[in-house]
């Protein structure tokens, strides 16, 4: 039944003739060069995507994000007027093994070295064009670290659809959006301390004690109960 099986990767998602952008790697490269030409001074990096090559993305620093976004929205042959999805990703600090060329004892050779990669928070925007039927162009904004500098530019002034989604990213990841009209928590309540979608989030153990077949949950609940009862 091979004939009946269809390949999803082959199908490049956009078959509209009008589409000026279909996400192919070369097109993303071209888009990047064009952006650099049209908006001089912006810093744009290409982020490739191994799994789905047609969904590579452009990393934009927060200072340039809004200009790039406006340009993408208003350029007549792109018209990315539909910001479909906004989300955060947490990349914690990690130690990575990398191969580096080093001169060891006078001989240059490849050695494995552990490098510390500082973590960052990332906000990803998926842009489509309703007018021309192209997409997705994926924009990424990154913060420089996860603790002190967590501010990126809000794209709500460009696309209204970011309003709630950026609030959600703020709520769950703790990314602050500059110039967001109404940056409040949206799913959790005001006064909630942490940002639960961060990878290092520790869930509270103050839930109701209930017997459960899983010992660790039970133990945690019992520990919590004991800690509550101890001072009294």
């Amino acid at each position: 039944m091979v004939s009946g099986i269809r390949n999803f990767v082959r199908e490049s998602l956009f078959s509209s003739e009008q589409s000026h952008y279909n996400g192919a790697v070369e097109q993303l490269e071209a888009l990047k060069t064009r952006l650099l030409r049209e908006l001089p001074g912006t810093r744009i990096a290409l982020v490739s995507n191994a799994a789905v090559p047609s969904q590579g993305s452009l990393a934009v620093p927060p200072s340039d994000a809004r200009a790039v976004a406006r340009w993408l929205r208003d350029t007549p042959d792109l018209r990315l007027d539909f910001c479909s999805n906004v989300t955060g990703v947490d990349w914690p600090d990690r130690d990575e093994k990398v191969m580096v060329r080093r001169t060891v004892d006078g001989i240059e050779k490849e050695v494995t070295e552990v490098q510390h990669r500082p973590g960052y928070l990332e906000v990803v925007y998926h842009l489509y064009s309703v007018a021309l039927g192209g997409g997705p162009v994926i924009l990424r904004q990154r913060t420089s670290n996860r603790t002190t500098d967590v501010e990126v530019a809000s794209l709500t002034p460009v696309w209204r659809s970011c309003e709630f989604q950026e609030r959600e990213v703020y709520d769950l990841f703790g990314v602050r959006f500059s110039d967001h009209p109404d940056l409040r928590r949206i799913l959790l309540w005001e006064g909630f301390r942490d940002h639960p979608m961060r990878r290092d989030y520790v869930p509270p153990d103050d839930y109701e004690y209930e017997p459960t077949p899983h010992d660790e949950v039970l133990e945690r609940a019992q520990r919590h109960r004991a800690s509550q009862e101890a001072p009294r």
Binding site: G4, F8, C83, R160, E163, D182, R184, L187
Partner: protein, 389 residues
């Protein structure tokens, strides 16, 4: 003029000073919800009223928040499938499909043709029952005492019966798998589906006779909650709501995911973008779904329903990310997955259509009465399982 260019500003919480109109009693602040008969669950609208006119409305939600995304990041890819049922609990099969589609794209899996047909059939049946129920709920919010809702539920029951005999559950179907569907149709299921689809046309005629020309309905819905086309696009509104505003954007047509390119169907568009258009677009979409279903039930081929190479356990896609979206009955339902090569997704994100469609709720309701606000909310078609996640 781009409507989003000038960001709106409003205070988080007005301080109780004498100049505050809410404080001095000239305005009335009412919290519609979370326990309110017509907020479709545990939704809350913080409304400031001048008489009965809404002068400020802030949607408040999260009462059903369970951080589904976090749960999914700690479960295997397969383990998240039953959780997607619980997002939009009216349309579990489309949620299944969106998730399966994204994972298939991430892992480069293939879907047999029969499974594609089954996906189209179940998704369109889901659309039928969702739209019927939503039109019923809309009328319920308008005070029609449940009669249209009960008629819609009568038909919905038949579709849910189909789901039960196919997937084993009426609402939490958990039917799709990466690379196909979980099981094939039981004997006689396709005939039963055909008869349900045939009967549904008669139901639609009756439903429209009951309502579509009703003067009270026209008066209550026409010109209410007008969403301009530009704002709809800019605010990311999708699905029937966007199409009622004249946005010709149907992902079944744009992305042609699955095998939708093999079916003849039209995309109805509204010109006014008001509540009535949203209602009528849903009614018309049901008719188009019936066409798709008729063709799919006729043409469905024999064959396997799941890619034999697809693995159920120990599923580890290679590192990378993928964004997949489908046209769910509520709008664009997207899943965004980042894999780090492990058994659990590194990032699992849902783009919930009804959450994003709520962005413009305040814009639609300002200057209208409470009664309209309730009806407008009903026409947005939210399911709190999906909004709050």
């Amino acid at each position: 003029m781009n409507p989003a260019a000038a960001p709106r500003t409003f205070e988080v919480r007005p301080s109780p000073d004498a100049a505050d109109p809410v404080h001095d009693g000239s305005l009335l602040e009412v919290s519609l919800g979370p326990q309110h008969p017509s907020t479709h669950g545990v939704f809350r609208m913080d409304v400031v009223l001048d008489g009965e006119t809404v002068v400020k409305l802030k949607p408040v939600f999260g009462y059903l928040h369970r951080n589904h995304e976090k749960i999914a990041e700690n479960t295997s890819y397969l383990g998240s499938m039953p959780y997607t049922d619980r997002l939009d609990y009216f349309c579990s099969l489309t949620s299944n499909w969106a998730y399966a589609l994204t994972v298939e794209r991430l892992a480069g899996l293939q879907v047999p043709e029969r499974a594609e047909y089954l996906r189209v059939i179940t998704a369109e049946l889901t659309r039928l029952q969702n739209h019927a129920a939503v039109c019923g709920f809309l009328l319920q919010d308008m005070g029609a005492l449940g009669t249209p809702l009960m008629y819609a539920f009568r038909e919905r029951e038949r579709i849910l019966d189909l789901f039960e005999s196919l997937t084993g559950a009426r609402m939490m179907c958990n039917y799709m798998r990466f690379g196909g569907c979980r099981c094939d149709t039981p004997p006689g299921w396709l005939e039963q589906a055909r008869s349900v689809v045939t009967g549904f046309g008669a139901f639609l005629d009756e439903f429209e006779a009951l309502l579509s020309s009703n003067e009270i309905l026209l008066g209550r819905t026409q010109g209410i909650g007008i969403l301009p086309r530009e704002l709809a696009i800019n605010a990311g509104i999708s699905g029937p709501m966007a199409r009622a505003s004249g946005v010709a954007y149907d992902i079944r047509k744009v992305d042609r995911y699955g095998i939708y390119d093999q079916f003849e169907f039209r995309v109805p568009l509204g010109d006014h973008g008001d509540v009535f258009d949203r209602y009528m677009i849903r009614a018309l979409e049901m008719r188009e779904s019936l066409r798709i279903l008729g063709a799919a039930l006729q043409r469905i081929p024999a064959g396997p329903v799941i890619d034999p190479k697809a693995k159920l356990r120990g599923f580890r896609p290679k590192p990378g990310e993928s964004y997949g979206r489908i046209e769910s009955p509520k709008g664009e339902l997207g899943f965004y997955l980042i894999s780090d090569g492990g058994p659990n997704p590194w990032r699992y994100r849902i783009r919930p259509p009804s959450f994003i469609n709520l962005t413009i709720l305040e814009d639609l309701c300002l200057g209208r009465s409470v009664a309209d606000a309730v009806v407008i909310l009903g026409s947005v078609d939210i399911v709190l399982g999906e909004v709050d996640r």
